[in-house]
Structures are given as C-alpha cells and as structure tokens.
C-alpha cells in the first residue's frame, strides 16, 4: 500500500468522522469551545490578576487537543464497534494506520475552531509571537499524538467494556490529564514540586508553550530536556499502542 493511499485514507476517515457531524450540528463547535473555556471563567471570577488569564488560555489550547486525543481511542471502541463501521473498514484495502490516524485526527479537526479562538485571544493580548507559533503548534501536535496513543492503548485493555464505563473513564482521564496537573495554571505555583509537570504530557507541553510565550523563564538546557521528555513519551505511547493493538482478531 502506497504512502499516498495511506494518507488519503487517513484524511477520508477523519473527514467521515468529523465533517458530517459539525456540518449538521454546528452548535457542537461552540459547546466544545465552552468545555475548554469553563476554567477561564473561574479564573476571571476568582483571580483575574497578572497573567493568570493567559496561563488559562494556554491551558484551554492544550485541553482542546488533549480531550480530542483521549476521546479518539474511547470513541473507537464505544461508537465504531457499536455501528460496526470498524468491521467494514477492516475488510477493506485500508491500512490500520489510516484508521487509527483518521480516528485521532477527526476530533482534532473539530477542535481547530476552538484553538484558533483561544490563539487569537492570546495574540490579541500580545503573548503570541509569530516566532513562537511554530514551536507552540509542534507542542500541541505532540500532546495530541501522546494523548491519542494513550487513548488507543487504554482502549485495547477495555475492549469489552460497556459504553457507560468508557465514557466515565474518558471523563476521569480528562480530569487526570487536564484539570489536576498545571495545564490551566502555571507550574510555578507548585513550588518545589513543579518538576511533576514534566512527567505529564499535557502539563509539560503547557510549560513549553508558556516558555515560548515568555511566561516562564526556562533555560535553553531545561527547554531541550522538556522537548526530549515530550517526544520520548509520545514515541513510547505510539510504539506501545502499535504493539498491543490488533487489526485482526484471533
């Protein structure tokens, strides 16, 4: 199977799994943006000082892609198996990578309007330089890849679970990866425990983004370490998922 066919199929699957939904229910885009923006309202209500809101906007951007990632794996086992579209695709000349990437890409496409909105507000506030844009996008892509692979890996263990359990699990993962670690707030607030943000991909990426936006004063060496940890974790999750997952049942 050629690379172009794999890429084309990835885009078709991503399109199938996103476009008809948001074309016919555009309100879902607003709702998704609101989920990521909820913590910002609390920040404005209870604090509002300094750069807190910008830290929150970074969190909202990371949250938009991380929710997309975590939910993609869950969606595969809960929804695709229910409608049996997966069985139809397995019996087609489609590469497993196209399916996995397409499934992971679909919620990301839906998140793009939220990302643009949060990015635009950050830029309006003067924290988004063109120079930093490339690094920020790269960090977001890595978070998406890491959380998507994590979602798929979890789905391989929860193969026979009920949709209700899976939804609860997805919500729990969302809280665990997005709301508890320093994603919406600065890791500086953790004091001597700030190193903890390094081991969670979402807070690590948020820290990297804040560094490029001038919100956290990281040394070049420390920034390199953070990139290395983020890349290694992402690759590790991708490898583990590809080893554990099965395209064909036995």
């Amino acid at each position: 199977m050629t690379t172009s066919k794999i890429l084309r199929d990835t885009l078709i699957i991503a399109w199938i799994k996103s476009f008809p939904d948001f074309r016919r229910n555009p309100m879902m885009l607003v709702l998704l943006a609101m989920i990521s923006a909820i913590p910002l309202f609390f920040m404005m209500m209870f604090n509002g000082g300094g750069n807190m809101i910008v830290h929150g906007l970074v969190g909202a951007m990371v949250s938009s892609v991380a929710f997309a990632g975590v939910n993609s794996g869950i969606q595969d086992i809960s929804w695709d198996r229910y409608v049996k579209i997966r069985e139809m695709i397995v019996a087609m000349p489609v590469h497993p990578a196209s399916y996995a990437l397409g499934i992971a890409l679909a919620p990301l496409l839906v998140s793009i309007p939220s990302l643009i909105l949060f990015g635009a507000i950050t830029a309006y506030l003067g924290f988004f330089t063109l120079e930093a844009l490339g690094w920020i996008v790269l960090a977001l892509i890595l978070v998406w890849a890491a959380t998507s692979s994590m979602g798929f890996m979890i789905s391989t263990y929860l193969y026979k679970s009920s949709p209700m359990l899976l939804n609860n699990f997805a919500n729990l993962l969302g809280i665990g990866f997005i709301f508890i670690p320093p994603v919406y707030f600065s890791e500086a607030q953790l004091g001597s425990l700030s190193w903890l943000s390094l081991i969670v991909p979402t807070s690590n990426a948020a820290g990297i983004m804040r560094s490029y936006m001038g919100l956290l004063p990281f040394s070049t060496e420390f920034l390199i370490i953070r990139w290395a940890v983020l890349i290694i974790m992402t690759v590790a999750f991708v490898v583990l998922t590809s080893v554990k997952s099965k395209w064909r049942e036995n």
Binding site: P20, R24, V83, E87, M88, A91, E249
Partner: protein
C-alpha cells in the same frame, strides 16, 4: 481449473475464554463465481464466525479458506481488494446520508472521486435510495438505513460481497427490496455470500445454500436438491385433535395444529379424506425448506409431542 470465488477447506474456529467454544468444526464450502450462496442456520450455528474469517476480520484456529484464489490467512491484503462486507446488526451514523455512505466508502477503496460519484449514484439507484440520498440516516426508516449500508458495499464494485443477515428486522416490503437488489447484482456477475436464518429468504434468493448447525455443514446444494434430502415430499397441516396421526407418518405438533409429513400423493389424499370425515380442517402442500431445515438440524423432535 477455474478458481472459485470462495473456498474453505476444513475451516475450524475455537473461542478460548472462560469456557472453550468450538464455533466451526471443519467447514468445507465451495462457492462459484457469480453465484449467490447462502449459509442458512439457527442462531449460534457458526454462520457469522465463518463470514468473519472469510472477510479477514478473524483468524481461524485451523484449516484455510480462499477468496478468488487468495488465502484469507496469509494473503489478507489481497483478499481485501476483492471483498466488501455488511456485518450483522450494523447500525448507521445518524448524521450520515446515503450519498455519503456510498461515496466515501468507494473512495476508501481507492476509487478516484469522479468514478466514486458515478458508482455511488449507480449503487443508490440499485437499492432505490437515489431520491433519499441527501437525507440523514436518522430520518430514514430501518429498511432505508439497511439499504444505505448495502449501497456502501455496492459502490465499492467489489467482486465478492458478504452480507451477514442483511434483512433481519426488516418488513416484508423492505426485505424484498433488498432481495431484488441482490439478485440484480448476481445478474451483473457479482458473487454474493449471504447468511440468514430465514428460510424464505434462503429459498427466494439463493442459487445454492448450505445448512449449518453447531459449527458443521449438514447439507449443501440448490434449494430443490436440499428438499430432496428428506424422503417425505408433502406436508399436511391439520387443525384440531387427531389421535392416530402418527400412524400416517412423522408428525410435528404446533399447539393445536399438527403437521404430518408424507411420501406419496395417495397418502395425502387418504389423510385429507379422513380429516374431512372427522370434520377437521386440513391443508396439503409440498414440503418447504423450513421443514427440511428443522428436520436436518434436529428441531423436529423438540416440537413433536406424539
């Protein structure tokens, strides 16, 4: 020698879980090109397992099978180029339209956009959904949704179509719509492998069929040939209590009705006359595929209270 469309040799499948279940016990089947072949069997007979192995979704525990000469075990990628599958109890995406099903599934098979549009149009016209092509599935009836899914495999232009109980849950009119579409495809040279537990469906659409029970093939052939596997040619259904029925032949009791299986027309006439004398309503007809099926899978005795 010409390569058949689907061939299985001693295909076995054992599910190993808390308890071991032998779903297929050495199934050997040969389906010719351009044939509509049906696997007919009760629930749990192994039909879906067979179809899932043939469609490369599941690995067998033993034996092998080929689709157009390619092994489903070692040449799955090659097999997938030639097949399209409708799984059992398949549901639809509510926000999808029949057009999106037919068009995007054709695109996933590597068909270029203009050709995919043409094939989607042909497929939707074949299943009589062209006028509803832009309505979302949530506004369609059960039969229309099923036909939208079938359109998605028709547009693929695959040589071998595999459909697992495609008409279950559909009303008679919708069912006939699907049958008509399937026969039309066979007319165009497609090979269709179908599973069903509905006798009427098997008899109406199949060129040949195999009766599967408890993981084994118990009979295989054309519907007429299958009916000849039992020695009785006729059935008489009698309403009411008839004490000495078993002396006429094999009987099955369905509540207040008795079915008697007879070999000759003379026996039928004799029994009808006796029934009339006893003022009992009786109807005679040739044995049906269902009669033969029930007899072959051993269900007759379950209803036989003689």
């Amino acid at each position: 020698m010409e390569v058949g469309a689907v061939k299985s040799v001693n295909l076995r499948k054992v599910y190993r879980g808390k308890e071991m279940v032998e779903a297929l016990k050495g199934v050997s089947i040969d389906v010719g090109k351009g044939e509509l072949f049906t696997l007919l069997g009760p629930n749990g007979a192994g039909k879906t397992t067979f179809l899932r192995i043939i469609s490369t979704q599941l690995l067998p525990s033993g034996g092998d099978a080929e689709v157009l000469g390619h092994s489903v075990v070692s040449e799955a990628k090659e097999v997938r180029k030639h097949i399209a599958v409708v799984p059992q109890d398949v549901a639809t995406y509510n926000n999808f339209t029949p057009w999106e099903y037919a068009y995007y599934f054709a695109r996933l098979r590597g068909i270029a956009s203009p050709a995919a549009k043409r094939k989607a149009e042909e497929a939707l016209k074949t299943v009589d959904l062209w006028d509803l092509r832009n309505r979302t599935c949530q506004t369609l009836s059960g039969g229309e949704k099923r036909r939208a899914i079938i359109a998605s495999v028709l547009s693929s232009d695959a040589d071998v179509l595999m459909l697992d109980e495609p008409t279950s849950g559909l009303d008679a009119v919708a069912r006939r719509g699907v049958w008509s579409a399937l026969r039309e495809l066979v007319g165009k040279g497609k090979t269709i492998l179908l599973t069903t537990h509905m006798m009427e469906e098997a008899e109406m659409v199949s060129d040949r069929l195999a009766i599967v029970n408890k993981g084994s093939v118990v009979a295989c052939g054309r519907p007429e040939e299958i009916k000849e596997l039992v020695k009785e040619r006729f059935r008489v259904v009698i309403n009411g209590d008839f004490k000495q029925l078993s002396s006429y032949g094999e009987t099955a009791r369905l509540g207040d009705r008795n079915i008697v299986y007879l070999k000759t027309q003379d026996e039928v006439i004799d029994l009808l006359k006796t029934s009339l004398k006893m003022n009992l309503r009786a109807e005679a007809s040739p044995v049906t595929l269902e009669d033969v099926f029930v007899k072959l899978v051993g269900g007759l005795n379950n209803h036989d209270n003689k």
